[in-house]
């Protein structure tokens, strides 16, 4: 009965822990959110996005061109050797983590490996990479070693160019499946094994095909973080340049199709991660949202849902672009534009939304999990140490028990989701200039894409406030 009971004591239940579960909110937080006027937040956010569409549509393309560029604000060039040194240190750290994963505590809340991988890397580094700094360049666990061992060594095999970055897309989808559907993705043993195998697989690929080729086409996280990293306002190469978020991404368009698909997959997978926890989704797959039976009961629905969501959104995205082109050709002066070319041009504009959703999806759990990470860092080898005074840190979820803190957290998430859409809209408008200079064409070609953006805004804001059962 209280299987029943327990399965249900909802208010005390959820609030999962590590990334796979990270997204689940504390029950009290969810309950408090349901008492807030979330419809008004959704309405306000949607109006802001619609208004931004109008505003940006009537902004001259020249103005947007001027705005969307990087301005040099420091002449420091990007460091060349230091990242290789830190990368080698990161490799050592990685293997230490693997050892801790295998030999450390079995409780994922006390083991440094799942804490670092899911909280530090997948949530934290992802966001930092997209907003503040190219951390991946400094912490990549292969690049330094490859530079030392493989620098002057010719590749053993020739990478089939026809494959492009499609292997990276495939690996990223597999990673998302592990994240969403595996029954114990935080288990230290399991995670250590998988992380080690992936490291070996990647390094072997670098040895066989060359590190640059492999990193650009197969190592999905390098591909992902390069794309996400292009969004940063501050970019460093020969000098440090500052611009609006995404200014550097625009030069990457049009992307190779595989990379375009990765952009969409990042967004859709993150969105589906949120969706698959909702009452709505659980209702679709016949699960009582008040008695979630465990991840093992929904492995296939999660996998199939993830794939179906990716296919569906890709088709809708493509259809909106096709319809926009058709509209602009029929009622405007747009010349011939291929669907693939337009698809690959606009795909990069999806990335801000993907980053915004990633932030909003994990923000609450990150605030809890970072405490676990900090306390585990205070005693990384489970020896009862108290390094940096962190060993005595007491994790709390009390801030999720009060409207005083829950409301601003929700509003931050709403703000992030709305801003990410506005940035995407501005980028899409800039990119439309690749096809035509006429304002009428620019508006028409983006017409359906704009509707899609508005719909996705509503969906994203709904995700933040709808009850969850996982």
């Amino acid at each position: 009965m209280r299987c029943e009971l327990k399965c249900l004591s909802w208010l005390a239940l959820t609030f999962t822990v590590l990334a796979p579960s990270l997204a689940s909110a504390h029950p009290a937080e969810q309950a408090l959110i349901l008492l807030l006027p979330t419809e008004l937040y959704t309405l306000g956010g949607t109006i802001a996005v619609v208004a931004s569409i109008f505003l940006i549509s009537f902004t001259s393309h020249d103005s947007l061109q001027r705005i969307y560029r990087g301005y040099i604000f420091a002449t420091w060039p990007a460091a060349q050797k230091a990242p290789l040194i830190t990368s080698i240190l990161a490799t050592f750290a990685f293997f230490l983590l693997i050892i801790v994963g295998i030999n450390g505590p079995n409780d994922p809340q006390s083991n440094l490996l799942p804490q670092v991988i899911w909280t530090g890397w997948w949530v934290g580094l992802f966001v930092i990479q997209g907003l503040f700094a190219d951390l991946w360049r400094w912490l990549n666990p292969w690049s330094g070693l490859a530079a030392v061992l493989l620098a002057d060594r010719p590749a053993v095999l020739r990478y089939p160019n026809c494959l492009g970055a499609w292997p990276a897309l495939g690996l990223f989808v597999v990673f998302q499946m592990f994240l969403l559907a595996d029954i114990a993705p935080s288990d230290p043993d399991r995670l250590a094994t998988i992380a080690l195998l992936y490291w070996l697989f990647t390094f072997a690929g670098m040895v066989l095909f060359g590190p640059v080729i492999w990193t650009r086409n197969v190592e999905c996280f390098s591909v992902l973080f390069a794309l996400i990293g292009s969004l940063r306002p501050v970019q460093t190469s020969k000098a440090m340049r500052l611009g609006l978020p995404g200014w550097n991404s625009l030069s990457k368009a049009p992307l190779p199709t595989a990379q375009s698909m990765i952009c969409l997959t990042v967004l859709v997978s993150g969105s589906f991660d949120g969706l698959h926890e909702t009452f709505w989704w659980l209702g679709q797959i016949g699960i009582n949202p008040l008695a979630f039976p465990g991840r093992s009961a929904v492995v296939w629905p999660s996998i199939i849902g993830l794939i179906a969501a990716n296919i569906a959104v890709t088709l809708v995205f493509g259809a909106c672009i096709w319809a926009g082109i058709s509209l602009a050709r029929r009622f405007g002066t747009l010349g011939r534009v291929s669907l693939v070319q337009a698809f690959n041009t606009y795909a990069i504009a999806i990335l801000p939304i993907a980053l915004g959703y990633h932030f909003a999806h994990y923000f609450v759990s990150f605030l809890v999990q970072i405490q676990y990470l900090a306390s585990t860092l205070g005693d990384p080898l489970a020896r009862g140490w108290n390094l940096f005074g962190l060993g005595n840190l007491r994790v709390t979820t009390g801030f999720l028990n009060s409207t005083t803190t829950v409301k601003p957290i929700l509003l931050i998430n709403v703000g992030v989701v709305v801003c990410s859409h506005i940035i995407s809209i501005a980028m899409a408008h800039w990119l439309s200039g690749r096809f035509s200079a006429a304002r009428r064409d620019l508006i028409l070609i983006q017409f359906f894409l704009s509707i899609l953006m508005v719909c996705y805004t509503i969906f994203g804001l709904w995700l933040l406030s709808t009850p969850r059962g996982v």
Partner: protein, 428 residues
């Protein structure tokens, strides 16, 4: 650190390490045992809901477990041997739960397994415990143990089951709140169990359930159901659960306004939730079942006071380091008491190692009275060796000025029912 309320002790941290010889562990963590007895630790596998929907409970079950083990070890351990907790995360998943039991038995070589809360995990894991011949001490409140659906290796000696809890509420409700009851419950097995157990129990007290309002589990707004509450209703019995519970309470308050029938509910709905949360004002003056009173009472027992200090919660059941961080106080005592039962059982059976597992189960089965004590701070208990289920007092508290004040303590006898199984008749 494994939980939010108390720093994992040096010992417990170490206990989770694998691949390090037990003697080395004992030598570094528990020199007292080594010097005195050269004893290897007794390993207890803790099946923890570290992730998944049970994580809020798992965090506090962990805190309680660590505190209980510290006390046991400070008092000399079990049979002179230190206790070592080996934690594995079951993800609040039945399949993973069974895998975890296999790891306990085959990889960690634990003596017993313990701690599981969510009943679907218990039901998914217990058969494997039986196959592995691993004593499995659960803390789930489920009636599945006493109903006979599990096996001789699965016991619940530290917390009462829900059938007993619901049944023992009826005498107080009928005598003090009214005899005409409207039940509002979620429309699935959990709610149905409450409906069936309580309807029968209130009728035995001369009462009557005048309406049964089943709410679809996916519902998040409830106002349209309230007109179905008959005017003659003396008491509304609610067991709503889920993220919409606060909404339910708020809408119920708005519906009734200042004149309302008596309201009775189970604290499970609000476990780990601050009773003074916005929207819960309407709960003022209403009644709750509590497994163990969350708020310290005016005449608190010395055992409860000491237990709070050991686990690291204050007089309102919240973390000592954050008064907003409310514990799962009504349930987590089960971990403390279960570990003390394991200790008593092992000492009674003169437990030496896995070969004595059957003797341990027989020793626990032979237990009956468990007096209110530091080992059993929730209250006195009576263990039924045949059904592997413990029976105990239940508490009915009234919200008074934002504090849960105990109005009635249901006796052990109020929660007793006919045996539904005799596990002792099963072979090992």
């Amino acid at each position: 650190m494994s939980n939010g309320t108390s720093k994992k002790t040096d010992f417990s941290r170490r206990s989770a390490l694998k691949g390090i010889a037990a003697t080395t562990l004992a030598a570094t963590a528990l020199p007292r045992f080594v010097q005195a007895q050269s004893a290897s630790p007794i390993k207890i596998g803790f099946q923890k809901h570290a992730t998944g929907i049970g994580a809020a409970y798992g965090r506090w079950y962990d805190a309680t477990t660590q505190a209980a083990v510290k006390r046991i070890n400070d008092d000399g351990g079990i049979n002179g041997r230190p206790v070592e907790i080996v934690i594995e995360d079951d993800g609040t998943d039945p399949k993973r739960g069974a895998e975890v039991l296999e790891k306990f038995a085959n990889q960690h070589k634990v003596d017993v397994a313990f701690g599981t809360l969510f009943s679907h995990v218990v039901i998914g894991s217990a058969p494997r415990a039986g196959e592995l011949k691993l004593p499995y001490f659960v803390v789930s409140e489920g009636h599945h143990v006493a109903s006979g659906m599990l096996n001789r290796y699965t016991l619940q000696p530290g917390i009462t089951d829900v059938k007993s809890q619901v049944q023992s509420m009826a005498p107080f409700v009928a005598a003090n709140l009214g005899k005409k009851v409207t039940m509002i419950y979620p429309d699935f097995a959990f709610g149905h169990d409450h409906r069936d157990f309580f309807s029968k129990a209130i009728e035995a007290q001369g009462g009557q359930v005048v309406a049964q309002i089943a709410i679809p589990p996916s519902e998040t707004s409830f106002t349209r159901y309230f007109p179905s509450i008959p005017r003659e209703t003396d008491v509304v019995y609610h067991v709503m659960v889920g993220p919409a519970v606060l909404t339910f309470v708020k809408e119920l308050g708005e519906f009734f306004g200042p004149s309302r029938p008596e309201i009775f509910g189970f604290i499970d709905s609000l476990e780990a939730v601050d009773i003074t949360s916005p929207g819960l004002e309407f709960l003022e003056g209403t009644y709750f079942w509590e497994g163990m009173p969350r708020h310290a009472q005016a005449e608190n027992s010395v055992f409860d006071t000491a237990y709070r200090a050991a686990v690291g919660v204050d007089e309102r059941g919240a973390s000592l380091s954050d008064s907003k961080d409310v514990s799962t106080y009504a349930h987590m005592f089960g971990c403390w008491e279960t570990l003390n039962v394991i200790k008593a059982g092992m000492e009674s059976a003169d437990y030496k190692g896995p070969d004595d597992r059957a003797k341990l189960i027989e020793a626990v089965e032979a237990m009956s009275e468990m007096p209110h004590s530091m080992d059993h701070p929730q209250g006195p208990k009576l263990f039924n060796g045949k059904t592997h289920q413990v029976f105990g007092q239940q508490y009915i508290s009234k919200v008074d000025g934002g504090t849960l004040k105990v109005e009635h303590t249901a006796s052990i006898e109020d929660g007793m029912y006919e045996d539904e199984v005799d596990y002792t008749a099963q072979s090992f």
